[in-house]
Assembly symmetry: C2
Homo-oligomer: 993 residues x 2
């Protein structure tokens, strides 16, 4: 077992000062009997029923996370987490047999810091005795369909770190617990395996899938969650809970339930002990029939339950007493207080073999017309804002490490990364970035992110001041996507600092709102850079309303060093009216050295895409459509489309316009065709001179609803690629899975929703291919999509709905705001690349990372300080193309958390799908690495202490645990899709080094 | 302070064995600081806000008492008292400053007996430290409008006894607490004063009354609750709570409330401490403006609150902390945890004078058209059953004392009075006998009473067997009111035992269902008694349905000894068809030696009543009417009539029939005119040969609703008496209050409901009078009534309504049952007497007691056991006419509780309104009284230790506490309306003494 990282970190600091090697895995003596040792005994000759008291506390949903914590706005939903924890602790103390699990560290942390030290001691005791056990333990229970792995790892790390530092090894969750998310991503399973969890439990899966698994007793299985990592590295034992995460019917004793309490006083009316026992035995027997061992689990709790834990425990105490009393009369049922890990331990002891699963659990349907595939796209603006925020947080983290303490306290005041980290962590919740919260809660998540970014901006400004030696004010323009930036709109001379958070140099197009006609742009060496001024598009003018007044955009390409910045200076050359647009005639071709893009002159739509390097050519038509959202008024089912559920009224979407009005802009930096489809749909098809990807910048909204029809807007790419009903989507931004129309790998699907039942989450990319062509679409946020027709790929961009989908949120997904009272307008980008299948990843992997971790622009008005340092890289050299620097984040005073990732799957690139070695001492330019120790993925256990349960798959040998040797002390080898996590002891080199 | 009665009782037994005098008032040393000593300090220069955490736990309402206790049927209403007490105790332990009051011993008792002894010790400690304080403390919080004082005293005694025996003097409530009852009876205040309470708080009063009192700061007052008892015997300090019994708006922190919690973590969103403090200070200042002292009270709780007490206390702790913290900034508001008694103590210390009130708080209206006067009559069958049950319980109690242990365990098995006592106690609850509970709860109360009666029947049978020396089976005929009794219907020879629970001999008409034509009836001496057979009335045949098959009734008058029985034997003389009724012609006159009653030959209605002794004569018409119940569809107010509220659609009732079809029966025993008004309304006007009262036996129902109109059925007596808009009603069966039309004694009434606003509760009698004539109506149950017209008195008999009145019960009052699916049929009796006003009480006082404590008939089949004792009296002699034996009940092995009552008011009888003395040693024929000690009315404190707060009325001197000396050791003098309560040490004389 691992000892608290905090303690070890201290040990590590002490031990390897100056030395190159250091011991890891120091075990501290401890009298606690937590974890598996603290489980209640079971009876091998009986059916053991594991009762697991638990609460499911959404980190925001109908109420904000703080409203949930305090129990505020109980008019919306009765829920107060502070009281839940108060009550559970009280009740655990009343009977040492009782157990409770807690899941969401975002809440536990808030509660903990309000407790007295004596209460904290009491709780520690409960944890040390295994009476209070943490499961999952991340900051939240993340969504699986719409999250990016980078943010998920961060939030898990933050939650688990708090538990580790507070409780030591007894606080380390053994079990992952995603009882509520609406479908399950393979990448999540892979991450959980690498985080050291022994098993994983969830509650929701397709109803047909469940029925088949019940029949075949395959509700417990072994999930092989990576096709690249060597088993059992990404193998995760997975259990499907019997009643979602609810108690069996009739046995809910929470204050929110109405089930009859056990009435065992014969002096009062309605003595019901016999009835309760009989009902329980029947349910237990029924459940045992669909599981494999003589152990079954019952989740005794639900959403925000246990606010008054006495009700539950008083009745559970009685239930256990009276049911077990029947053993004297020959009953073979043994009920006990348990936890998921105790249950898991019994399954492990059963020494059975388990069905192997290699695909994922998407999409999730709970009935024939109830596919939870709408939330893949719901709240597209929030989804994008979350993704940008992640990028900004990583920049903030990196600069904190690269600059040290002066980043947090400097000329611009006090900044921090923690606020943003917490905001990002709660945003990963399965009703946050998923878009399935109430509007006011979505606003709260966005506000938190904005607030976090305020804190980070101070840190970034301090850092850039420190690195550049100039304390000139840094100005942030967060609205460049709609061409708003007061500084650039009015200034005649300013500079642009471009910070690149990737560990390799990037070339990046910059577009700045301006009012001049011509500008002089110079790079850090004073060299002039090609720049062009183009008129602001009609769509942008419409969207930005009264914010900003730029009539033009200044466009130029920047080159930024790895993990560092460069600076460009911009000077107005010529004032004056905007240049006339090049022409209103439909263009037929735009092209650069890599791509040629043709348009149909009659329709103004794309017609083909050619890769000039590979000499590939496909026909490609693209247009916008909307599905008419079901209003529930339907003979087959009364399910409407809503925040969760996508249910089109018809499988044929309505076309918005068969033709686009077009405008063309062509210059040395960029060529763009501006397409106008309707007052609420437009697009810019854009090709930068330097780019291997074609950019489709779409703008959708306000979606009209004056016809009282809910609309789900898609864009569809129709190509000549022979897809054979197959397409591919990524899982949480990492490994790619194959999807086949009307098909599921593990059961015989009866398809009942031809569109919604073929939608899958797209987190960063999707592609279609045949033997010769692969068209990859990189997205800028999570979206839902499908391939309904041969050669076709559709992506849902925006949704505006008029009905609630009856899954609790209680609001139609009909986004408006102060700025957009008539309905939200959303803008985004799709990046298209056409490649040979065998080399496509070499393009789309780095492309996608550029979208995820985008350069951060900061602006300074006026002349540049001549003494300031205009360029900086935190790395000694760019990392190899296969290696992604996933995490660089301050851990403690002298400790830094580093994650390096091999970003290619084992099969996808001849060049890049190979092991690659990085020398840790040659990594940083401004830091000396004095020591390092490897951790599990979530950084709450030393890597060499990870000892997970081993499980045997059916029809296959149990995989041998394979260990790979690194070439040397400081050299770290990464294999395809491997992420390696290190705690580094570093010292900052002085700026003059 | 009184020490626990149990302890003293033991002392008393030990001390006065054989001696005639004994010390009372032994004070035991005690380190506890409960009661007034345990109150938190206040600040004399500040406004002190007393926060009183409390829960209001209905002893049945929407759920049965046991459902409420267990938290069963939370689908009806979320409420579980077991959890409330669990939770409150837990929370009190967390902070010694916290306080809680508990009220309903019916619940506390159930909870207490399920606790471990260590928990019991913990609770005792809390009580001894004044942290948990009992207020009111009766078995329930009784209704004030529909209860009889005898049952109220019993239920209070039972609850307070449990507290006394469990907790000693720290368990004695100092304060009466009737926060929910819907209007307040003067007799209740009188009883509370005599029970030793220092003060009384309630929540509901007429909205006009409250407005006036707020303006004049008279929400706290001194209630002089008797016009007969010497002040301050029945003076009760009375406080009207500021928000009913709820917390001020915005400050409800129960799990059932949605008010914002105090959010005091500056790290979380929505820090609201400043807002909360400001709102609180505003409310406190507003409240202080309408009360007299610098102390105000806030009830922090409501119905079934504190199930999760943590929510309340956590926020109250914070409220106190943050509000008092403002004192440092100059705030003069001091908030503290408190209790009603601590608040009362501060009012007492204020040494102020208080407005004196002499009337009562009926009727209660919470708005202009919302008079709570319907429940005076609601559920008339339950109200009658409760009254009969009280009679049966008193008989059961008496026989238990008179016979001793063999009553409880004898030839008929094990019987007890406790079951019935508990059933009666819960039936006193303000949503029980009041008729304002849901139908299933009303059924539960009735079932409990029936079950209690089963237990009592065994005790009664055992007792009669013991007293008579015959263990022949005793048969009970509980359906004689509808002429059903299988034994008498079929037997040719049987005997009737008549037990009289009154302390004076009674003459009582007996009517038995029979099928013979003539019977021989003989008294205990074998002397033949005049008997007659009359045909069962058409109405009775209709009502009893298939139960019973008697065609005739055997009628004869029995004479029963005081507190004892006699036996009559009945033998069939002649079988055969029923005698033809005397005639169908409308009679004009029936009369006996006391009364002459004339009928209008045209209408069949009563036309006059003459007292032949006093030579009084009045014209008297009587008929039946119904008010059309408002359905709420009304421009003035949308208030419908319902279980609580009476709101006729029009002030003019509909007549049911202008004429009655009549039949006359006349014989030597009884003369009756049977009137038939409609299929659902009939009446027998009946005059027994021996009676000074005219009996009107009404039968109403099923009230037709096929016209979709709710109906409130009244009978109205219209006389020639000149009433001057005044009539009189009793208060809880004791003192009589004057009522004046459209008038209230303490404020200028704006009458908005000319009928409902003039209705008052009638518990046992009402009368109208002028200088020469008084017509008194004695009722057999509580009913509502009014005098709307000069000379007129109307009484509401039955109600059938189609709408809920929106006061929570959620059901229309539309009673049906298995036997009466088409609607409940109700039968009852009004007893009319016409007297001179100065002597009327001499008739109606004993008459009403005969109705309240009616003889119990038991039957034995076949020949009488010749050796058996056919007559018995428990008394050496009948008590004087002014004295009523209110209670004779076993207290402990050798101890007996005795209450003697002077049943006349000081002004109502020249003969009887005088002090009267009773010698306690000459009381009982079968018991030796070895010792006695006087108690307060509720038997939880020695009389000579009662030290109540003294209060000074405005405009009057503070009354001097007057003590009256009894003539000698064993002689007890009773003054008008006095009840004296004694604990007697007795020994049973052997039967042969």
């Amino acid at each position: 077992m691992a000892v608290g990282v905090q303690q070890l970190a201290a040990a590590l600091l002490f031990i390897f000062g100056g030395v190159l090697s250091f011991p890891v895995g120091q075990e501290m003596k401890d009298t606690s009997t937590c974890g598996y040792e603290s489980c209640h005994a079971t009876k091998s000759n009986m059916l053991n029923v594991h009762l697991v008291p638990h609460t499911h506390d959404d980190v925001g949903w109908l109420k904000t996370v703080d409203q949930y914590f305090y129990g505020d706005r109980n008019d919306i939903q009765h829920a107060g987490v502070q009281y839940i924890l108060d009550s559970v602790v009280d009740q655990l103390l009343k009977n040492p047999d009782r157990r409770f699990i807690y899941v969401e560290t975002a809440f536990f942390y808030r509660w903990w810091k309000q407790q007295s030290s004596s209460m904290q001691q009491t709780v520690k005791q409960l944890v040390n005795e295994g009476r209070l056990e943490f499961v999952n333990g991340g900051w939240c229970m993340s969504d699986e369909a719409t999250t990016h792995y980078s943010a998920v790892i961060d939030q898990m790390t933050m939650g688990l770190r708090f538990l580790n530092e507070t409780f030591g090894h007894c606080g380390r969750p053994r079990v992952a617990w995603h009882i509520d998310p609406f479908g399950h991503a393979r990448e999540h399973a892979s991450m959980f395996a690498q985080m050291g969890y022994d098993g994983f439990f969830f509650g929701r899966l397709d109803y047909q899938d469940r029925a088949r698994r019940m029949m075949d007793k395959e509700q417990e299985l072994l999930w092989r969650a990576s096709d690249s990592l060597t088993p059992p590295m990404a193998d995760l034992f997975t259990g499907i809970l019997p009643n979602g995460y609810n108690p069996p019917e009739g046995f809910c004793w929470d204050q929110s339930c109405d089930d009859p309490p056990i009435r065992d006083d014969p002096d009062l009316e309605d003595y019901n002990v016999n009835d309760v026992v009989l009902r329980f035995l029947t349910i237990a027997a029924d459940q045992a029939r669909v599981y494999k061992t003589n152990h079954i689990i019952m989740t005794m709790g639900s959403d925000f339950q246990y606010e008054n834990a006495n009700l539950w425990y008083k009745n559970l105490d009685k239930l256990i007493h009276y049911v077990n009393a029947q053993q004297a009369n020959g009953s073979n049922v043994n009920v006990l207080y348990s936890t998921p890990s105790c249950y898991l331990q019994e399954l492990h002891r059963a020494n059975s073999t388990w069905a192997l699963k290699r695909d994922d659990f998407f999409p999730y349907a709970d009935d024939a017309h109830d596919f939870w595939t709408g939330y893949f796209t719901s709240r597209p603006a929030l989804k994008r804002y979350e993704r940008i925020s992640n990028s900004n947080l990583q920049t903030c983290n990196q600069l904190e490490v690269l600059v040290g303490p002066t980043s947090r306290k400097g000329p611009f005041g006090t900044g921090d990364s923690q606020t943003m980290r917490k905001a990002m962590a709660v945003a990963q919740h399965h009703d946050a970035v998923s878009g399935t919260e109430k509007q006011h809660v979505a606003n709260d998540y966005a506000r938190r992110l904005a607030n976090g970014w305020q804190h980070c901006q101070v840190l970034v400004s301090n850092s850039l001041a420190s690195l550049s030696g100039s304390s000139a004010e840094r100005i942030y323009c967060d609205n460049l996507n709609i061409s708003v930036c007061p500084l650039t709109e009015s200034s005649k001379k300013f500079s642009v600092n471009v910070y690149n958070p990737l560990a390799r140099p990037v070339s990046w197009p910059v577009r700045l709102p301006v009012n001049g006609k011509a500008y002089m742009v110079a790079d850090a060496n004073g060299k002039s850079v090609d720049s062009q001024v183009v008129p602001v598009s009609r769509a942008t003018q419409g969207v930005r309303k009264k914010r900003g007044f730029a009539v033009n955009e200044l466009v130029f390409q920047v080159q930024a060093p790895p993990l560092g910045y460069t600076t460009y200076s911009v000077s107005l050359l010529e004032d004056g009216p905007p240049p006339a647009s090049t022409g209103h005639r439909a263009p037929t071709v735009i092209q650069n050295k890599y791509l040629q893009v043709t348009f149909d002159p009659d329709t103004g739509l794309l017609s083909s895409l050619n890769n000039l390097e590979t000499k590939q050519s496909i026909s490609l038509t693209q247009n916008f459509y909307w599905y008419n959202a079901s209003d529930g008024n339907n003979s087959e089912s009364n399910q409407p489309s809503g925040a969760y559920i996508f249910r089109p009224n018809s499988s044929t979407p309505f076309i918005i316009s068969k033709t686009a009005k077009t405008e063309i802009i062509q210059n040395s930096v960029v060529q763009e065709v501006r397409q106008w489809f309707a007052p609420w749909v437009s697009q810019v098809v854009r090709l930068y001179a330097d780019s291997r990807a074609l950019e489709l910048e779409w703008t959708v909204g306000p979606v009209p609803i004056d016809d009282s029809l809910g609309k789900e807007v898609i864009t569809r790419l129709d190509t000549s690629i022979k897809t054979s009903e197959i397409f591919y989507t990524d899982s949480n931004g990492r490994e790619v899975l194959q999807r086949k129309k009307d098909f599921r790998p593990t059961w015989h699907l009866r398809q009942s929703e031809p569109i919604a039942g073929n939608y899958y989450p797209i987190n960063s990319r999707a592609f279609i291919k045949d033997d010769v062509d692969q068209l990859t679409v990189v997205t800028d946020r999570s979206q839902g999509g499908g391939s309904i027709h041969n050669g076709s790929l559709e992506i849902m961009l925006h949704r505006r709905l008029l009905y609630d989908d009856v899954r609790g949120v209680g609001e139609p997904l009909n986004e408006t705001s102060d700025i957009f009272p008539e309905g939200l307008v959303v803008r985004g980008r799709l990046l298209l690349s056409l490649d040979r299948p065998s080399t496509a990843a070499d393009t789309h992997r780095p492309l996608a990372q550029e979208v995820v971790l985008q350069p951060l622009l900061t602006f300074t008005d006026g002349e540049l300080d001549p003494s300031s340092q205009l360029e900086f890289s935190g790395l000694q050299a760019a990392l190899p193309p296969a290696v992604h620097l996933l995490t660089l984040s301050q851990w403690d005073e002298d400790l830094v958390l580093l994650r390096l990732e091999h970003q290619f799957q084992s099969w996808e690139s001849k060049i890049n799908s190979k092991p690659v070695t990085v020398n840790m001492q040659k990594l940083f330019s401004s830091l000396d690495v004095l020591g390092m120790s490897e951790l599990n993925l979530s950084a709450n256990q030393w890597k060499d202490e990870m000892k997970r349960f081993d499980w045997t798959p059916q029809k296959e040998e149990r995989p041998l645990l394979k260990t790979f040797e690194d070439p040397s002390m400081w050299e770290v080898t990464l294999r395809p899709m491997e992420i390696r996590t290190f705690l580094l002891r570093v010292s900052l080199r002085s700026a003059s080094d």
